[in-house]
Symmetry: D2
């Protein structure tokens, strides 16, 4: 995190880490925020039996969770505004076989009202990453005033 | 489940229940398959702290997991074929505040190659359901032959 | 249009009709705004050879155009605010064979920032409607102030 | 087009050009297939008043048409199979102001049943391209046998 060169971002990053730390589901899944910078975010999780589906792949729901969280966090870094997932589309490309599932999200278009964020998910096996999913998300950017009174992404 | 009137469906339903029972992530989340019939599926989960995000709502990733699983299962019931999520789009409509999160999926268009499935997610509070998310999914329908050799939704 | 009982809506409807009348592409396609009320909009077009693809069906691009316009207009009716398409997802369900293509859009969730709108497209053949496409859209709602200075849906 | 080095592709390209030439809507819009190779396709159109909306930008429906056609054609090149749009999601990023609208589609994941294709749309003004839309599509790949009997993307 380039916090020294960008003190505002240090504050944003600190708030994001605190919020993520309070997410019960993030802890249940055991995912970690492994990279955070202006306009991008990476979240990853190690393989455990309780994250899999019946064929031994990471469950599609784990992929979706990483995408949901990483896209919203990436949007939140871009201006330091509170952000809420409005919607996303997720295409599964290949079975998520491997030891580690990694979701990298990057802001394509920041915006005052809506940020557009792309995410790609990779599964790591024997040091090789395989592209397992791709997603496109719209994130609602809330003003501080709206954030204080509104809890809906479609508000 | 209308299994007596539809013996083929009884076999399909049994296979689906067995598959779902082997999903580590379904067990980790603690969700249950609460309704299953030709062309529809309902999955629900009770509120627990480890399913929430920082504001105390069900995490968006829990909603996505329910949608991912319920849409694929609904498609699998329609012809008894193996089915894999190809893609879905999810719009979050309102914060998922409440005691129980319920996802109802229904097949809009069955198909030999691709089934189209809609899902709606509701959050139950004091006996009242609130519509919290809506989704539209494309599910790849695999022939038994293809299912035996292929593990990718985009294969 | 229930304009007498809802004078505000009469003004909104008048503005929408004026805007649509200035759309060169609406005129080129030959589509008509056949129904407009608070939260809903129907746009339809008659079959002509120049709207078809190589198999004689309505081109997917015509369906997409109807969806794009009808969802945005439906959102604009809900509060009378200027509205811009942020994004939509469109599933084609069946070939658009027939004499008339009809898109009906309805607001699922109005919002100050983002409205969520569903649309269904039907093709009319011998008096029977066939469901040929379904869509889910997010429409950015602009304040008058923002609308005056901003032209981007993601601004 | 690299037709000399890839005679199979020359046949595929010829069939695609013939199909596109029979699309009444392609001719009405006045778009041209400006690039075609294995796994990619570019379609572009020059600004004309009848392609615009009320603010003088290219209509969103024109963008959607380019995306619909370019993603399906890109998928069709990848194996020479007939292809039908199953679904796509389109995010509008910025107003399509300019002299020429260009959609570039590329296959992300070829597949026997479903190909995943990304597309980006740019608007050219004074020699500079601006990114105005991004899309993600699932294209149903038909076997010749299925193509002969089936006309639906979800069949």
């Amino acid at each position: 995190m380039r916090t020294e060169a960008d003190p505002d971002f240090a504050t944003v990053a600190e708030r994001i880490h605190a919020n993520v730390g309070r997410q019960g589901f993030m802890n249940l899944v055991g995912a970690e925020l492994s990279e955070l910078s202006r306009g991008s975010c990476t979240i990853a999780v190690e393989r455990r039996p309780e994250l899999l589906q019946q064929h031994g792949f990471f469950h599609g729901g784990v992929t979706a969770f990483l995408v949901d969280n990483a896209t919203t966090i990436a949007a939140a870094t871009s201006r330091g505004q509170p952000a809420l997932t409005a919607e996303y589309k997720l295409n599964l490309l290949a079975p998520a076989v491997g030891e580690r599932l990694i979701c990298r999200a990057r802001v394509i278009k920041p915006g005052r009202q809506v940020a557009v964020v792309a995410a790609d998910v990779f599964c790591l096996t024997d040091g090789v990453e395989r592209h397992t999913a791709t997603a496109l998300a719209s994130i609602a950017m809330l003003s501080e005033a709206v954030a204080a009174t509104t809890k809906s992404p479609a508000a």
